[in-house]
Point group: none
């Protein structure tokens, strides 16, 4: 994985141009040919790189995919680090805005295949899942929790609410429908998830 390489002294003789070419090629190829036909050989050929250069630096196809994601999402700065969800004071509206954006992204053919591929690799590779949790999902979740915490302090969320559960309550149904293709991802669906999650299934007297 690329992670430990970023020491200040940078004693590694790794070729940065090759690294970027590989990750770019991987990202493009998976859009074009799909997950099933994505091959290390294809990536190397497209990147103009020897296969060994991939095997030298990444332990698996999933790891390449993961780094490709890191590169695409926000270049070098950690995702969600400084960024923040909108906070207008109206939690429901803000969440709807965010979920509608997510819906749009998941419907974007440029990101659909790559994200499905990454999810597939994660589900079958615990090591990759840990890395994903640390470097991608973690920061995003923190960002989401910050917004919820703000609402909680304002009295808009239950005091004893577990924010991790809350995050999963809002985003889980959406991702699940997308992964399992169990229904269309529409803005209306996003809205109804937010409303139902906030109000609960029970009648509010």
């Amino acid at each position: 994985m690329t992670t430990q390489r970023r020491s200040s002294s940078n004693t590694s003789r790794r070729n940065e141009a090759s690294r970027r070419a590989i990750l770019t090629a991987a990202f493009e190829l998976i859009q074009e040919v799909g997950y099933a036909k994505l091959s290390i050989e294809g990536i190397a050929a497209r990147a103009g790189v020897g296969k060994q250069t991939i095997y030298r630096w990444w332990p698996s196809k999933g790891a390449v995919l993961f780094d490709a994601f890191l590169l695409m999402l926000g270049g070098e700065q950690p995702p969600g680090g400084e960024a923040a969800l909108p906070d207008t004071g109206d939690l429901e509206a803000d969440l709807k805005t965010v979920l509608r954006a997510t819906v749009e992204e998941l419907n974007d053919p440029r990101y659909d295949e790559p994200m499905r591929a990454l999810n597939t690799e994660i589900t079958h590779d615990p090591a990759l899942a840990a890395l994903y949790a640390e470097r991608l999902d973690g920061p995003m979740r923190e960002m989401k929790k910050r917004r919820l915490r703000s609402a909680q302090r304002a009295g808009q969320l239950a005091e004893d609410l577990d924010l991790d559960v809350a995050v999963e309550m809002v985003w889980g149904p959406l991702l699940n429908r997308w992964l399992q293709r169990s229904g269309a991802l529409t803005p209306e669906y996003a809205d109804s998830i937010v409303e139902t999650a906030l109000n609960g299934l029970r009648p509010r007297h």
Copy 2:
């Protein structure tokens, strides 16, 4: 797919023993060697069957996997058809019972790999997803909705609640955490999902 074959006249000369051997072999193999190393050739060898017999009756590895699931889950009767979720009158308790059972199943190593594999195939193959929706997910979802409808009629759920959304609100977070390996699946987690889903994120006055 095996589906349309089961007509009453059964004019097909298909070898039922081979069919079962293939599906059993597929299910066992994926537990033993994992999704990445599951091969048609391996299935055929383990089942003592020619490769062509697989290619003749199934269009893809995912389709074999799907039928293997159908065979394992409840033998021949359609899943969720007659079955019902527990209905003691106490919705919260019943849902907790069911979700705890789901948690246990997802933690069972005998089902973990096969289910991940099936999800992977579904996410990358819309045709398989449609079949899954019709034959597996559909009946299960109907069963869940029946229980929720019963509660709704009893005034325990909001009158205008979209039951499809409700189902996803309860089961979505769980499946998502499992697929993405974003946290441990514990009975307590199941409980807190049920509570949070029922009550919503907002404070209840």
Copy 3:
């Protein structure tokens, strides 16, 4: 090796067209690119054949080369089986004729590289050497010995002469000069070998 396949029942499902394409491709390629650059991959590509088809039927590159030779030399009938060296009664003249023909063949660029390659494989692979001795060198040597025996009976050769040694005395120097490139192979050289071998190094009173 191809050898045992030629049973009368021919129960093998081997593809004869592929076999010939492979051997032809091997023979042509070694002329064109030389021994060092001859690759199984190249042979398979040129023959329009999967690599596995080569690995399935031949244990080594040398074995392919060997069969290629068998195919080129006289198609299907065993070399030297019925054939005979010229026998005009004049042993010296006959041997000169034969050695001059050998010189010409060794100087022919169509056979030079392939024969060097085969010799290389033989020198490094005893199993192949045994096969060579049995199927190629053996029959040829027998043919040569028949001619010498005829001369011996006619009193033109020493009675107690070991014909195997005699054969090597005539052909060995030639082949050695060719393999080690220690001198030009000319008709005159062929003649002088024959003369010297027949008369010996010692003065004949």
Copy 4:
């Protein structure tokens, strides 16, 4: 090639220790792993040397092998330069002594593989063959011819004998049998070659 380096001034900044380590490693490796698995990479690793150091000073694997031979045979003095074949006055006995020694050397597993490898390289590389002729085979042949010339002057060999042909007549059969593995190399075989070569194939009335 190392050849031109041996000027008296030795202005080269070449590292002599590396040179010897490379040649020693090459010689040892070819005994241990055989010709087919001998690689530049392996030699460099065994010698504790960068690959470039080999590519800088030798044009081919064969050239390394050749120099390795030069180093092993007699250290630094040119082989056969001052040395001489035994000359007791009895040519036949002397030749038998020498050929028996050659047989022993060719049967020595320490030299078998390396010598076969060198022969292979020579047969496929005319440039190397020329170098071999000049630096190794040439001096040896000269030494052999000196002994034959001595016998010729003593009237033990035909006056008009071409000594180059004579040398090949004696050593060619032996080397050929060894390279082609067409028979066992025994002392008796050495003897019979000498006798047959000296007396010729014809009956000596």
